[in-house]
Symmetry: none
Subunit: 337 residues, 2 copies
């Protein structure tokens, strides 16, 4: 999936910020792609970028209108359909993170065909993949793994892309989830791929590259989550990472959506190495990324110091304290040729 940039951000008439979470994520990480927003009567979200009409957006060079919002009830509101059709008529592609496929709505499908525009359903994948081969590919890879779902794996990978580029590394974020696909303009929502092709899809996302190039691959789920561990394992095998960063949320008591307790960071490290060795015998941890939002700064720093000592790894909150320490460790463990 390759989405043309830059974007016009469609926010619809969502009742709160949370419903536009994907749009905020894109605006945070790719402000240069987010030329403007389009909001309907009653919209409670605001990305703080110019409100544009469709024609203004086209004039400013927008290529794709991004529907970065969720709607309750599963059915696309009538007023959104009309707006999407108008965007296609105005000359924009449309990319959506909704569950419903844009092409399943006849008015939208007809307008796209009539005007020769692309429809992208980021939650769905029509790409044909091969099964994973597990063969070593050239280039270097880092995967963010987690003690649970939703503990900052995407955020850590994006922060590392930024931090490593600033330090002269040739590094690219590789998306495996829907928000990540919008942020990188390409990628696959791995949890929507047919099970037999999980690792094959990741091999496609992160192909052979220059020997000094880093792919920073967005992790999904957790090897210890009873709902999603299969996805996490296929992703680990396909990613064949040289390095991994463990992501953690210290206030979580049970894993997301189930009653199981979180694994320890030590268990995650041990299992990631044990399983990851299959496709990369050199796999090793290079850092711990903790979401410390719920902690005062002193408590956060103490927690990170304790974790760093306990695991002999740099530990940081990428948002609060940056990723310098992890980039230092990467530079030390993988010296450039």
């Amino acid at each position: 999936m390759q989405i043309a940039t830059p974007y016009l951000m469609f926010l619809g008439d969502v009742p709160d910020r949370l419903a536009a979470k994907t749009a905020y994520g894109i605006a945070d990480w790719r402000p240069e792609w987010c030329i403007g927003q389009i909001r309907m009567e009653g919209c409670a979200a605001d990305l703080g970028i110019p409100d544009l009409t469709l024609n203004e957006a086209v004039e400013k060079g927008c290529r794709t209108m991004v529907v970065g919002v969720v709607n309750a009830g599963g059915r696309l509101p009538e007023q959104w359909v009309a707006e999407i059709v108008e965007a296609l008529e105005a000359g924009l592609d449309v990319a959506s993170g909704l569950h419903v496929r844009l092409g399943s709505i006849p008015e939208i499908a007809d307008a796209a065909q009539k005007h020769g525009r692309q429809l992208h359903d980021v939650r769905h994948s029509d790409e044909r993949f091969d099964t994973g081969k597990g063969t070593k590919r050239s280039g270097l890879r880092l995967l963010t793994v987690g003690t649970d779902c939703s503990v900052g794996k995407k955020y850590a990978a994006l922060a590392l892309e930024k931090g490593m580029r600033e330090r002269g590394f040739d590094a690219d974020f590789r998306a495996t989830g829907q928000t990540g696909v919008f942020i990188s303009g390409r990628g696959v929502a791995i949890d929507a791929v047919v099970a037999d092709f999980i690792s094959g899809a990741v091999e496609w996302i992160s192909p052979d590259s220059d020997p000094a190039h880093w792919d920073l691959i967005e992790g999904q789920g957790s090897l210890f989550h009873p709902s999603f561990a299969g996805v996490s394992l296929g992703l680990l095998h396909g990613a064949q990472p040289d390095a991994f960063v463990i992501c953690h949320e210290p206030t979580r008591t049970t894993m997301r959506g189930v009653k199981h307790p979180l694994p320890s960071i030590a268990e995650v490290i041990a299992q990631t190495i044990a399983s990851g060795r299959l496709t990369n015998p050199g796999i090793r941890p290079v850092g711990i990324a903790v979401n410390t939002q719920a902690l005062e700064e002193a408590a956060a720093r103490k927690l990170l110091d304790d974790l760093a000592r306990e695991h002999d790894l740099p530990a940081t909150d990428p948002v609060r304290f940056g990723v310098e320490g992890i980039v230092d460790r990467i530079a030390a463990e993988f010296p450039k040729a």
Copy 2:
């Protein structure tokens, strides 16, 4: 899904027996349904049943042509399309275990509609699943796991169904692959489920049951196979087995389709327990099932004796020597109330 029997077995021009393992499995477990086979130039598989033309098959009462072959990636070879169209024209339904949907190929879809024939895609399920919850369900479960793909996991589960029923157990085979669905007439091809729902689909396949009832769940892939380990892990977590049987093929040197060596049986036992504990802390091995087809009887018996001693588990070739020892172990480990 209700597939009309009996079957004409389509073997195409597959390069080896393993590529036709679906057809062999159906012929072994449902010989009364397999009236004849149809093979193309260069076909290396042979079920040992009459070669029939399409018209002969219809005359002998065949109702469905079964495409009982697999190929890596699941793409339908061009040269098979014409043969499938002719079968539909001759008056047969067509049932396929391939990833590609028969109806997605216009010539096949058109011929089926024109001649009023049914197309069955056994790998696909239109059932909607929830994500796995990992909650303990009532009833007892056994999962067959493997050192590789295609090492007899389905055979072992079917042989155990037969052997346990003969000993008075209330036991049902639960299919998770296309061949199993052809054989049992129900189940889900788990490798075709969307990745997020692997464990949830297995929870659907094997729901709560009577406390003394055994579900004998067909395993898939291997926790050590770089292409399919994600499927195997999701299946293990969803199955939450009380007991597992390790399946092995002693002449295999690399894992199927890749260059990786096979794990040892000890590694498979250790990893299955380590991962399986997440949804069933009581998980334990109850036997080893070896495909000894390539060995003389004396060599086979010695191998099994050695394995039994080494792992303190009953070891057998279910096809050659039956499953008595494993049923004995199950009876001892899980005494009926």
